[in-house]
Symmetry: C2
Subunit: 223 residues, 2 copies
Amino acid sequence: MGKNVTGVGRPRASGAAASSQNAREAVLEAAGELFTGAGYAATTTRAIAERAGLRQASLYYHFPSKEDILAALLAATVRPSLEVAGGLSGGDAPAAVRLWALAYADIRLLGGARYNLGALYLLPEIASPNLAPFRAEREQLKAVYRDLVAESGAPSGSGSDVAVRSNLVFGLVESIAIVRRDDPVLDVEAHAVEGADGVLRVAGLPAPDATLRAAARALLTRS
Amino acid sequence: MGKNVTGVGRPRASGAAASSQNAREAVLEAAGELFTGAGYAATTTRAIAERAGLRQASLYYHFPSKEDILAALLAATVRPSLEVAGGLSGGDAPAAVRLWALAYADIRLLGGARYNLGALYLLPEIASPNLAPFRAEREQLKAVYRDLVAESGAPSGSGSDVAVRSNLVFGLVESIAIVRRDDPVLDVEAHAVEGADGVLRVAGLPAPDATLRAAARALLTRS
């Protein structure tokens, strides 16, 4: 119904490329469902290929091993939040506002994704060499939280250090995986708002008010 | 070296009973190591029996299935905290003090256990019928947190309800499983103190001070 019905305009991906991209997406979609449903160890690449409607050879063309599929799925749980973090880092907004914005976006991402991929963070396979890039990106994201907690300059209540609070903050964000497993019809938006509030509180900062939340949301719209 | 060297006094468990109890413990110990190391799905009952130094028949005598072993291990991650909650419920201490005490004890339990059994909470197998008693006990514990959050009467900052905050509180406590997986030489005591502080903050209560913490610790010693 748009301007391009005549075929004029921005060129589309060629059929082959589009179909290759589609195959990759179909594998990730099927694997996300099976890994979070039946479990990672119980899922074979054959079952993934079948669910995706592909031959196993096509699957292996995109992902040489099952762990490579896991790596791609998990990358998608941290990379968008790293991008948000990058967009927030340039401006001059207070650290507390940026911390709220990052936590809110991150909880929405983990809580709102079609499958509960955060539930895969505790798999023993996370330690394998194929998952090193995911581990590195997740560490990067954790470091951003740590920097924001440190920069926000919350007074230390009980003599504990920034590292402990950052661990708790990161744990609180990622715990959305447990919460949504317990309650599949979760109100993700309410949890993201209250969770970001909780992150500031755990960091030792004053309870955020409507002004801070509005400023944080504005940052996210802009970035 | 005590009073009972002569054999007089409280009767001991008979040799057979003692050894049966030992066999049960040996299975749980071996399974805890293998489930959290190699993974639940990848671990066979045969491997557990071998590691425990038992014949498979002895294992099956105590645990008819692998899921029964999982159920017993997971029960041990919530039952002691339910007992703590029971001990706290009688007294007249303020809800905030009881909430701090429960969270502190719970984080110490999950964080200090020999194996990181909280990492098994996100297994798909948790949904199976054999795990119903564990799910029920965990729900009971969650309900205690919810009641304490409600009773503590924190003002609602952003119009959210007690349910959302209780979920976040419970998530923050259980996230110790993620934190200790990331950092196996974690200072559990520091995390338990700061985590219990964080629980009160997430619940919307004022930051706890040394007096509240001391009162909470005294409750735990008494109960």
